[in-house]
Amino acid sequence: MKDLTDQITRIRTELHYKTGIDPVEHCLYRIKSEESMREKCRREGLPETEESALQMIHDAIGVRIVCSFLSDVYTIRDRIIEIPGIAVVKEKDYIKHAKPNGYRSYHMILRTHEGYFAEIQLRTISMDTWAALEHHMKYKKTISGNIALISAELKRCADELTSTDVSMQAIRDMIFEDSEGEENV
């Protein structure tokens, strides 16, 4: 875990130094508590052992990297796969292929050379805000209000936020475009 977070910090520092802009807005790390690990083992029908925990459960370690811009998400992703000693087990691009409810994020499952797994979620600030609100809806026991309406409105907001993310990216590209820059679309 320490290794992984150090590597992510290094990538962040390098990119910040190179471009003058920190590509990461914030970064969260969490390790699943013993109780929730045991609960997950039971749920998946695995023995409640250290071995299961380390080798079978892919999200024992969770890292969420929240970026300012869409392109930062992919830049960080490209740097993560180059971390020495890290194997990419699985990648899912829910930005390119959004979930039907509007959820967008880039998911990666990594295996470190020590053999444990980590789940990385990469997303923009607006995707993060959206996911936080959607999470509230999903886990709130009693929702006052029309669930169908709330779900439809959340989906609409997701599609509007994506639109804004793309526009912000285009504006940033225009600001930073080379003076002799590419003028073809």
């Binding site: 599609d159 994506t162 639109s163 793309v166 285009a170 003028e183 073809n184 679309v185």
Partner: protein, 226 residues
């Protein structure tokens, strides 16, 4: 569909009102210009049939006053005189159409239908090109995913989708989409084309808008590898 009929000749007012109601319209009636204006200010109508010659306040004055107050309800003027000047004055004051008296009921009904027909009734609910669908109701752009466009992005893409085989110059686009708004320039068009290309990419489409900054743009299917 709710109409206001302002006509001071009692018999004609009653007859037209009855026919309009028979056709399924909801009709309020006024017998002079002041009454008509009061009703216009109080409730919303889908169309107004306005006689020019009326006591207290004539139709032209009612029309100018409602337009001055930004009431955009379509207006059909009834003109007794076959005076060209009258019609011109009416149209200039903001009328949408006129009908000289005496008129056939059939023609009145056709003109009312034409007046209340909304422009968007001609607009298709969705526009398609290659792998994309643009929904005009909620300005959603869909291929694999969906994004919601803002008004200008929507109008720009709608213009391209309505002219799929044409190359449209930056000037044409400024005129059609920005209606020659002073703040808009060639770079505005370029930025909005960039937004749309980003959004086309984002929904997973292979469609792109191609062209050079400041020049003409057009739709291309698979013009770029996705």
């Amino acid at each position: 569909m709710k109409l206001l009929l302002a006509e001071d000749t009692q018999d004609l007012n009653r007859a037209v009102c009855a026919i309009l109601q028979h056709e399924g319209y909801e009709v309020d009636t006024a017998f002079d210009g002041e009454e008509a204006l009061e009703m216009l200010l109080q409730s919303g109508y889908d169309g107004v049939i306005l006689d020019i010659m009326m006591p207290k306040r004539d139709g032209l004055s009612v029309l100018s006053e409602m337009r001055r107050r930004h009431i955009l309800t379509p207006v059909l003027m009834l003109t007794a005189k076959a005076e060209i000047d009258d019609r011109v004055a009416g149209l200039d004051a903001g009328a949408d159409d006129y009908l000289p008296k005496p008129f056939a009921m059939k023609e009145l009904l056709a003109r009312v239908r034409s007046m209340t027909r909304r422009r968007n009734e001609y607009e298709p609910a969705e526009l398609r090109f290659a792998d994309i669908v643009l929904y005009t109701g909620d300005m959603a752009l869909t291929a694999g995913n969906t994004v919601r466009l803002c008004v200008k992005e929507f109008e720009l893409l709608q213009t391209f989708l309505s002219n799929p085989d044409k190359s449209l110059s930056t000037e044409t686009l400024l005129e059609r989409v920005w209606r020659n708004d002073d703040g808009a320039a060639a770079d505005t068009v370029w930025l909005y084309v960039s937004y749309l290309n980003g959004k086309l990419r984002s929904v997973g489409s292979r469609v792109r808008i191609t062209g050079k900054r400041g020049e003409a743009f057009g739709l291309a299917d698979g013009g770029e590898t996705v």
